[in-house]
């Protein structure tokens, strides 16, 4: 810390870091020019901080696990199916769902930046945006999976999907053994964020 903000000799407001001031400057200039609407900004913040998150994707996965017709439709045209559920918006224009099977495990990365299905998973975690993950996911996916604690049988192929600004992928994980008879809400509780990126597996039922 370059400056002791709690020093009583300097009883001014807490000075935000340089980039925060630069963001405020852009906001001020754009607001003065009438190019942004502060209420719309607040609405976007509220949406992404509070209303959109992996619970949306988990709901989609739980439906696919419990309804074969839904699963088929989802694999055929995910964009339309999830939009029908109300999960659409920025970075959700074209979503593809890739299904894990005993033969193939799918894993998603964005090698160029951090494209991600926001309406289904929210804002990506830091590691998804890191150079390390973006570089290694393609080069050595099994090692990356091992770092996440996922070990797959040698007979399972790993397929890596590179998300772009045009197409974003969601992994449909395999339904865990022992989950027979669970209702949709309980199934959704087994679905983790990482299992829908492909760097994790769903939880096992208690």
């Amino acid at each position: 810390m370059p400056h002791d903000h709690h020093d009583h000799d300097h009883p001014h407001a807490l000075l935000p870091p340089d980039p925060a001031l630069r963001v405020k400057a852009l906001e001020t200039i754009l607001t003065r020019k009438g190019l942004i609407d502060p209420a719309a900004l607040d609405e976007i913040l509220d949406t992404y901080q509070n209303r959109i998150g992996p619970q949306n994707g988990a709901d989609v996965v739980a439906r696919a696990w419990s309804d074969p017709a839904f699963r088929d439709a989802l694999l055929k045209d995910a964009t339309a199916v999830v939009a029908d559920l109300g999960y659409y918006g920025r970075q959700g224009e074209h979503i593809e769902v890739v299904e894990n099977t005993p033969d193939t495990h799918n894993m998603v990365v964005c090698t160029l930046c951090s494209c991600y299905p926001w309406p289904l998973l929210g804002i990506p975690p830091g590691w998804y945006k890191s150079d390390a993950y973006r570089a290694r996911a393609v080069r050595e996916p099994r090692r990356v999976l091992a770092d996440f604690g996922v070990t797959l049988p040698d007979t399972t192929a790993v397929r890596v999907w590179d998300s772009t600004a045009e197409v974003r992928y969601l992994v449909l994980p395999m339904r865990p053994a022992g989950s027979d008879g669970m209702d949709r809400a309980a199934l959704a509780g087994l679905v983790t964020r990482d299992s829908m990126i492909g760097t994790g597996l769903p939880r096992s039922p208690e």
Binding site: P11, H12, A13, L14, L15, P16, P17, D18, P19, A20, L21, R22, V23, K24, A25, L26, E27, T28, I29, L30, K33, L35, I36, D37, A40, L41, D42, I44, L45, Y48, Q49, G53, P54, Q55, A58, R90, Q91, E93, L112, C113, S114, C115, G122, I123, P125, G126, W127, Y128, K129, S130, D131, A132, Y133, T164, A165, E166, A188, G189
Partner: protein, 105 residues
């Protein structure tokens, strides 16, 4: 989805910057694939000398991309941005702790 949720953004300015960019995109200032292409280039340039960890460095690259884009299309002149940034800094430094911080004029 058990336990305490992780914060979506690590820093308030990450969230503000994100919302500002999405808002400008939604109001038609630029399209998202064009934005992603520019942002990818900045990230690649920043990552040449060291590995980016996906936190502050990620959003610093994002901010630089947005500043450059708005400078190029004439929306926000860099000198104007620098001057307004300094005005905000002065406003923070002269506002008593706890009071709302406002820009003059």
């Amino acid at each position: 989805m058990n336990g305490t949720p992780e914060p979506v953004f690590d820093e308030p300015w990450h969230a503000q910057l994100f919302a500002l960019t999405v808002h400008l995109n939604e109001s038609g200032r630029f399209d998202w694939p064009g934005w992603a292409a520019r942002f990818s280039k900045t990230l690649a340039a920043h990552g040449l000398n060291r590995d980016l960890d996906g936190g502050d460095d990620y959003f610093l690259a994002w901010l630089e991309t947005l500043e450059t884009l708005l400078a190029e299309d004439g929306t926000a002149d860099p000198q104007d941005v620098a001057g307004t940034r300094d005005a905000w800094e002065r406003a923070y430094l002269k506002t008593p702790h706890g009071a709302p911080v406002c820009l003059d004029g």
